[in-house]
């Protein structure tokens, strides 16, 4: 019995990480937004590009409108499946409040990309709490290296609001060392066949945003 010790040769394209061999990506959002599917696409793309990959998520309570987080790490050889707080190179958030909630996972200088669409938590919907005012301004102040993408609007433009996660993947695609055809191949494999075109358009709109 031996552990799989086959080492992978990583491509030479520059990864987002500058100081370490491993790229750390955190995805955050709300149950039902497609966070886990986006995370699946990222991990398959990294594997297809020849990297070692580890990905971690927490199921169970997440499906019912709760906060959802997924960790993705790739590089020549990855040990831990989770990103340490303060060490993420990239935070992709599917909702502004969930961007703010997890921004401190970013390393100094790390990049935050987030979807503009607000989703009220149950506590806000019930009138027990209030959604933070001026959330975009607060994000910009707390994490200047951030970019807002109106992914839901772009996804509607592409043909289905459900493809917002593909817009967001498009938006980060330029920051990750994966070939365009790798992204397209994986996306085509994971979305329902009838929606491939709309999802590809959504990915393009995100990439060009």
């Amino acid at each position: 019995m031996t552990q799989n010790t086959q080492t992978q040769t990583a491509p030479t394209r520059p990864a987002l990480a500058v100081n370490t061999q491993t790229t750390n990506v955190l995805l955050s959002g709300v149950g039902g937004q497609g966070v886990l599917l986006a995370s699946y696409v990222l991990s398959q793309a990294a594997m297809a590009e020849g990297y070692d990959v580890k990905q971690s998520e927490v199921h169970g309570m997440s499906q019912r409108g709760g906060s959802v987080v997924s960790h993705l790490r790739f590089g020549a050889k990855v040990a831990a499946p989770i990103v340490t707080m303060g060490a993420a190179d990239l935070l992709l958030s599917f909702e502004p409040l969930e961007a703010l909630r997890y921004h401190h996972w970013l390393r100094p200088g790390g990049l935050l990309i987030y979807n503009a669409l607000r989703v009220n938590p149950s506590t806000v919907a019930a009138g027990l709490a209030t959604y933070p005012d001026e959330i975009d301004a607060r994000i910009a102040e707390i994490w200047p290296n951030s970019r807002k993408v109106d992914a839901t609007a772009l996804a509607e433009q592409a043909g289905t609001a459900k493809a917002a996660n593909m817009v967001l993947l498009g938006a980060i695609s330029g920051r990750l060392p994966f070939a365009d055809e790798t992204w397209r191949k994986i996306i085509a494999e994971v979305v329902p066949p009838k929606t491939i075109d709309a999802n590809m358009r959504a990915f393009d709109l995100g990439r060009d945003s």
């Binding site: 552990q3 990905q55 409108g65 499946p81 409040l97 909630r101 938590p121």
Partner: protein, 596 residues
């Protein structure tokens, strides 16, 4: 062939490759996907059992019959299964028998964070812990070999970060084992009457002694020498965190964590200047090493007994204990988190059948003796109508105990009502209800029958009418079952009808005898039920917020000029109409019927 697999997928694959013929489980996070993936392999008899004790007995039976078999559960499930497990330690096995326990440090989806490694020592059986998916797959095979070589059940322990993390796995082929056509009888081995059991206990003790020797040569335990300044003993996902935090250090990597290889540990001690044990939860390894009289430079004194670790925590903890060579970026203090953000707890889905029942229970102000399932979310605000939750099936016995000692004197808010889901009732609520009836109790039990095991993602249960692989099966009739237990008052309610639900609960509370109320309505998430959204008449809504008490995320408060109004999100709304029944102004309107 290489695939990116979760630990759970890898365990299922490993069991298939090891020639497993039967697997049984009760769903529980983070273990559930193991059996769901197992069901994809047609060579394996895979089944959900009503609870973990039965699953363990089914797997043990298959083992005694000669087949390699697997029982799977979350950590607290082993408490339920402990009875057969501890005596299976005495009987030993026929075909290999492995019990998977999926622990949940940090309680991502659990009621406690017990460290089930203690069960290995308690039951005197060997234990394996994988540190990624490749090891999860490969160690299952080793676990079966050790089970047969030493005639013992084997505990296979994962944690959430193993079960729910994906990494790359090299797949292998299945070992084909001969078909079984006979049942061999061996009374002294398998019949644990005192006379036979007394003969077995010394063998159990000898087995541990023999396993200690085997642990020294098993390749899954190994010394990985790096810089000799720092030596780290670790297992599971924590091994990966420590590797990340101290890339140059030396490691004693343990794949088998009970019993431990004493000579290997002593050898490792002699090779490094400073020696540390890093582990989550209990000082399980540390205490055993302490008893070997091996000097450690740090262990649980550097880490919390509670919750999970991560690479940063390992780097900071061991550095505080004098270890050198930590990855510098992991020692940086993380940026502060944003303060004052509203929480986003999980909640009942829009259209969930539990919402109406809890809205009524809140109004009645009764004491709700709760249980484990989606409906436990009824304890959270704004609903906040559940007052206890301990373990699977506890609601009914606890309500009975409360009712026996409190004389409510007609005051409804001092009456206890048990609330339990269908799957949890089948799991271990039946015996609680039997107790209530037998011992002349008078408590009311509400069974929330949503036709599935919802919280873990919608698994079949004995009331579903089909099995894990989707085959049609006999269906438990809840009404007949509770009547057979001796319940004379059985009422049925439509949980979407608040007036009827309130009237029936009041009637049953006033009856002064044991009663069961069955609320049958299928889970909207599992059965993909989508109804047209309701709407708000802005002229009639005066912003009183009464509807918000139902705690539905389809409802939002919006500012309309001077007024604050409620708005319904048509994407989220599932048309259940529960909020409309809360409105005193008829401002929430049903969808127009579709014209033919």
């Amino acid at each position: 062939m290489r695939e990116l697999l979760s630990g759970n997928e890898a365990i299922a694959r490993g069991a298939w490759e090891a020639g497993v013929r039967l697997a049984a489980a009760y769903p529980g996070t983070p273990s559930t996907e193991i059996l769901q993936n197992m069901a994809e392999y047609k060579e394996i008899e895979s089944q959900w059992s009503p609870n973990e004790k039965v699953a363990t007995e089914v797997a043990l039976g298959a083992s005694i019959a000669g087949a390699r078999s697997l029982a799977v559960m979350k950590h607290v499930g082993v408490n339920v299964a402990a009875d057969p497990l501890f005596t299976a330690s005495y009987t030993g096995v026929g075909g290999g028998f492995v019990l998977v326990t999926a622990d949940d440090p940090a309680m991502h989806s659990s009621q406690n964070e017990q460290d089930n490694r203690n069960y290995a020592r308690f039951a005197k059986i060997p234990m394996f812990e994988p540190s990624d998916s490749q090891e999860a797959k490969d160690l299952v095979r080793v676990a079966f070999e050790i089970s047969e070589e030493f005639d013992t059940p084997v505990l296979f322990r994962t944690t959430t970060r193993i079960s729910h993390s994906k990494s790359i796995v090299e797949l292998g082929e299945r070992v084909e084992l001969p078909a079984l056509t006979t049942l061999e009888k061996d009374v002294p081995k398998y019949t644990m009457l005192p006379g036979f059991a007394k003969l077995k206990h010394p063998k159990v003790e000898q087995r541990i002694t023999d396993l200690k020797k085997r642990a020294e040569t098993l390749p899954v335990n190994r010394i990985e020498m790096g810089d000799s300044a720092v030596g780290i003993i670790a297992t599971g996902t924590v091994y990966q965190y420590a590797r990340e935090a101290f890339p140059q250090a030396s490691f004693l990597k343990l794949g088998m964590t009970y019993p431990l290889p004493r000579k290997m540990i002593e050898e490792f001690r002699s090779k490094v200047e400073r020696l540390y044990v890093v582990e989550e939860l209990d000082p399980f390894l540390e205490e055993q090493i302490y008893l070997m009289d091996v000097k450690l430079d740090g262990g649980k004194d550097l880490f919390s007994l509670c919750g999970e670790l991560d690479p940063g925590a390992v780097a900071r903890g061991l550095t505080a204990g004098g270890a050198t060579g930590a990855e510098p970026t992991l020692l940086l203090p993380p940026p502060a988190e944003a303060a004052g953000l509203p929480q986003r707890p999980p909640t009942f889905c829009p259209g969930c059948s539990h919402r109406g029942v809890f809205t009524v229970l809140k109004k009645l102000r009764v004491f709700v003796s709760g249980d484990i399932g989606c409906y436990t979310l009824g304890a959270l605000p704004p609903i906040g109508a559940m007052h206890t939750c301990v373990c699977m099936g506890a609601s009914i016995g606890m309500a009975h105990g409360m009712s026996k000692v409190v004389d409510a004197q007609g005051d409804i808010k001092n009456r206890a009502v048990a609330v339990i889901g269908d799957s949890t009732f089948f799991h271990s609520g039946v015996t609680g209800l039997m107790d209530t009836i037998w011992n002349r109790g008078a408590s009311v039990t509400i069974i929330l029958d949503n036709r599935t095991t919802a919280m873990t993602g919608g698994q079949q249960n004995p009331g579903s009418g089909n099995t894990l692989d989707g085959e049609p099966a006999s269906m438990v009739d809840l009404t007949k079952l509770v009547e057979a237990l001796g319940v004379k008052r059985v009422a049925r309610i439509d949980p979407y009808d608040l007036a009827q639900t309130e009237r029936v609960i009041r009637e049953e509370l006033e009856a002064g005898e044991p009663s069961v109320i069955i609320a049958t309505a299928p889970c909207v998430l599992e059965f993909k039920i989508k109804n047209d959204p309701w709407t708000i008449d802005e002229n009639l809504c005066n912003g009183c917020k009464r509807c918000l008490r139902v705690g539905c995320i389809a409802l939002n408060l919006v500012e309309e000029g001077e007024k604050t109004l409620v708005e319904i999100d048509p994407i989220q709304c599932n048309g259940c109409g529960v909020c409309a029944q809360m409105c005193n102004f008829d401002a929430i309107l049903a969808p127009e019927p579709v014209k033919a």
